[in-house]
Amino acid sequence: MPIDRPALARPLIELRRVAKTYHLGEVEVNALRDVSLSIARGEFVAIMGASGSGKSTLMNIIGCLDRPTAGSYRLDGVEIARQSREALANLRNRGLGFVFQSFNLLPRTTALENVELPLIYGAVRARDRRRRARQALERVGLGDRVHHHPNQLSGGQQQRVAIARALVGEPKLVLADEPTGNLDSAASAEMMTLLRGLRDDGITLVLVTHEPDIAAYAERVIVFKDGLVCSDSAALVRDAAGAVRLEGGRA
C-alpha cells in the first residue's frame, strides 16, 4: 500500500452500511442493521449500549474476529470483508491488541510468557520476544512481576498483564471489551488512566462499556441501540473539549 498523504488522512476505521445477521436455528438475529461510522487515528472512543444492542458484535467485527454479513469495513484502508481467515489472523497479530473483561490470561503461565504470546505467532525470535515482553510489562508497571502466574496477581495486575499483551505487538488499534468489568473502582480508575495514556503513543483505542463513568474517560461516545448507532457525539462529559480538537487536527 503506497504511503502517501491520502493514506495518512484516511480514518483508521471506516464502516459503511455494515450489517451482521446471525441465524440461531430458524430465528434470524440482526445484531447490526446498518452501521456507518469512522474512527480517526489516535481517537479514544467509547461504545455504549444495553446488552443485545450490537456493541459486542461491532467490537468483533472491528477486531477482525468476525466478518460483516453486508457492507464494507476498511481497517487502515484494507477491506476486511474480503480477507481470508489467515489474513485476518495476521492483521490481528500485527495491527490489533485485545483487552477482555475476564483478562483471558493463560493459567499456570508466567506474566512474561503471557505477554510473549502474540510475538510467538508473529514469528519473533525468542530473545527479542523476551526483551519486548519485558518492556511491555515495565510499561504497565509490572516490571517486578514478570515471573508471577496469573493466580499470584490481583485483578488489576492481571488486567495490566493483558494490556501489556495487547501492546507488545505495537498495534495501531487496541480494543477493550469491558476492561474494568471485573475490577473494583480504584483499580478501574488506574486502568482507565493507563489506557488513556496510550493516546500519547498514537494508539487508537476503542472501548466497549456500559458504565458512563468509564465512558467518560473517552473523547467520543457512540451509543448503540437495536443494532443501530443511536447517538455519536464528541461526548465531552468531563473531558476538556480541547483534547478532542487536538486529536482531530492530527487525523
Partner: protein, 409 residues
C-alpha cells in the same frame, strides 16, 4: 511460527498435567511393551525350536521300522522291526544324494562307577553318527570304525552323564564304567548339545559301538535293526527327494506291492522343523496382533483426553486465535500434543517391553531376541496412533470460533 515453538508449547501443556499425561500415555506404553514382549517371546520360542532342530543335525532323515497295519490299526513307527542291516548298507550305497548313514539303537541302562551310578540312554552306533549329528567330541576320542569292527568295550559319555558320574570339570577319559554289568572304558566325552525340540536332554546319553551294543546290551534277535537309521543328505534342499528315493528303495527291497502300506517310516527333520517354525510364527503373529489391539485402545484413550483437553482449554484457544494464531497453529499444537503423548508412551513402552522380554527370556531359558524392526514398527505405529486419534480433537480445536471460545465458561 516455527515448528519447534509449537513442539515447546505442546510439551509444556503436557507437563502441566503430568499425572494425566502419564495415565493417557500408559495405554500406549502398555500396548508397545506388549507388542515388543510378545514378539520377543515368539522369536525366542522360534529360535529355541530352530536351535533344537539344528542340534539334531540339519539335512537329516530318520528311517524307522514299523507303521505296519495290524488289522486296520496303524501301529506306531518302530514297534515292529522291519529294517535289516542290508537295508542300512543299501541306503548308504545305492541312494544318490545320501552322504552317510548310521544305525542308532537304544536301551535304557544303569551306568555305574566305583562310587556313582546314573540311569541313562545307552546308544549303539557307528562313527558316522557323530558326523550326521554334527556333534564334536569335547574330550578324548569318539567311537572308531576299528572299535565297531572289533566289538570293543569303549564308551563315549554325553556331557550330562560325565558330569553326574565324574563331576562337571573332571576328565573321565581312561576311567572304567559298568553298563549292565559289562565294563567299558571311557574314550571320550561328547560336546554339550542342549535340549531336543521335545525338551529332552540330548546329553543324557552314553554311546557305544553298535557291534558291542548288539553283543553285550541288547541281546536277542539281531537280524533286524531294533532302532532307527540316521541318514545325512548331501544338500539342504534335497531332503524330500532323497527321502522319496529311500522309500522307493525300501519298498522294493521289502517287496511291498503297489497300493500296500509302507512297513517303515522316513521322517524328514527339515520338514518337521519348518512346520514347527510356521506354527510358532503364527503364534507370534497372533500375540502381536492382540498386543496391537491394546495399542489402538491406547489411541482411543489419547483421543478421549485430547477432546477433554480441547474443551477445557477453549478459552486458551480463543485467546491464541485473538492474538493471531492461525487455524493451522492450533491444529499443530494439539496434534503435536497427542503425537508427543504417543511417541513418549511408545519409547517408554519400548523400555518396558525390553525389560519384560529380558525377564521372560530368563524365566523360560530362551535366547533374548528383540528385533529392531519390531521396535521401530511399534514406535512408528504408536506415532501413527497419536496422529490418527489426535487429528479429530485437533481439528475440532482449530475450527473453534474465537468469539464463542473467548466467552466460553
Amino acid at each position: 511460527m516455527r515448528l519447534l515453538e509449537t513442539v515447546r508449547i505442546a510439551l509444556r501443556a503436557l507437563r502441566r498435567n503430568r499425572l494425566r499425561s502419564f495415565l493417557t500415555a500408559l495405554g500406549i506404553i502398555i500396548g508397545v511393551a506388549a507388542v515388543i514382549a510378545m514378539v520377543a517371546i515368539g522369536e525366542g520360542a522360534k529360535a529355541r525350536v530352530e536351535q533344537a532342530f539344528t542340534a539334531m543335525g540339519t539335512n537329516v532323515l530318520i528311517v524307522s521300522s514299523g507303521a505296519k497295519t495290524a488289522g486296520g490299526v496303524k501301529v506306531a513307527a518302530g514297534t515292529l522291526p522291519t529294517l535289516t542291516w542290508d537295508d542300512l548298507k543299501a541306503i548308504g550305497a545305492e541312494v544318490p544324494g545320501v552322504r552317510c548313514v548310521a544305525p542308532r539303537l537304544h536301551a535304557t541302562g544303569q551306568v555305574v562307577t566305583e562310587d556313582q551310578n546314573w540311569a541313562t540312554l545307552v546308544t549303539g552306533t557307528t562313527p558316522e553318527f557323530f558326523e550326521i549329528r554334527n556333534w564334536p567330541i569335547r574330550l578324548g576320542a569318539g567311537i572308531t570304525a576299528e572299535d565297531v569292527d572289533a566289538g570293543a568295550k569303549t564308551a563315549v559319555l554325553g556331557d550330562t552323564v560325565a558330569a553326574h558320574l565324574f563331576g562337571a570339570s573332571a576328565d573321565p577319559v581312561g576311567q572304567m564304567v559298568r553298563i549292565q554289568n559289562v565294563p567299558f572304558r571311557v574314550v571320550g566325552v561328547a560336546d554339550r548339545k542342549g535340549q531336543s525340540p521335545g525338551g529332552n536332554d540330548y546329553d543324557d546319553v552314553v554311546y557305544v559301538p553298535v557291534s558291542t551294543f548288539l553283543a553285550k546290551i541288547q541281546g536277542g534277535l539281531q537280524s533286524y535293526i531294533a532302532g532307527t537309521i540316521m541318514v545325512e543328505v548331501t544338500a539342504d534342499d534335497q531332503t524330500a527327494v532323497v527321502g522319496a528315493r529311500i522309500a522307493a528303495l525300501l519298498r522294493d527291497r521289502h517287496n511291498i506291492g503297489a497300493g500296500a502300506d509302507d512297513d517303515f517310516t522316513v521322517k524328514n527333520l527339515t520338514e518337521t522343523a519348518n512346520r514347527k517354525e510356521e506354527s510358532t510364527q503364527a503364534l507370534t503373529l497372533l500375540l502381536a496382533s492382540i498386543a496391537a489391539v491394546s495399542l489402538v485402545v491406547g489411541g482411543i484413550g489419547i483421543m478421549n483426553i485430547m477432546l477433554v483437553s480441547v474443551t477445557e482449554r477453549t478459552r486458551e484457544i480463543g485467546v491464541r486465535v485473538a492474538v493471531g494464531a492461525k487455524p493451522r497453529h492450533i491444529l499443530f499444537q494439539f496434534l503435536i500434543e497427542s503425537l508427543a503423548l504417543s511417541v513418549m508412551g511408545g519409547l517408554a513402552g519400548v523400555a518396558l517391553g525390553l525389560v519384560a522380554a529380558e525377564r521372560l527370556a530368563l524365566r523360560f531359558g530362551w535366547p533374548m531376541l528383540v528385533r529392531p524392526d519390531v521396535i521401530a514398527l511399534a514406535v512408528g505405529f504408536s506415532a501413527l496412533v497419536g496422529i490418527g486419534f489426535g487429528l479429530y480433537p485437533a481439528y475440532k480445536a482449530a475450527r473453534l470460533d474465537p468469539i464463542v471460545a473467548l466467552r466460553y465458561e
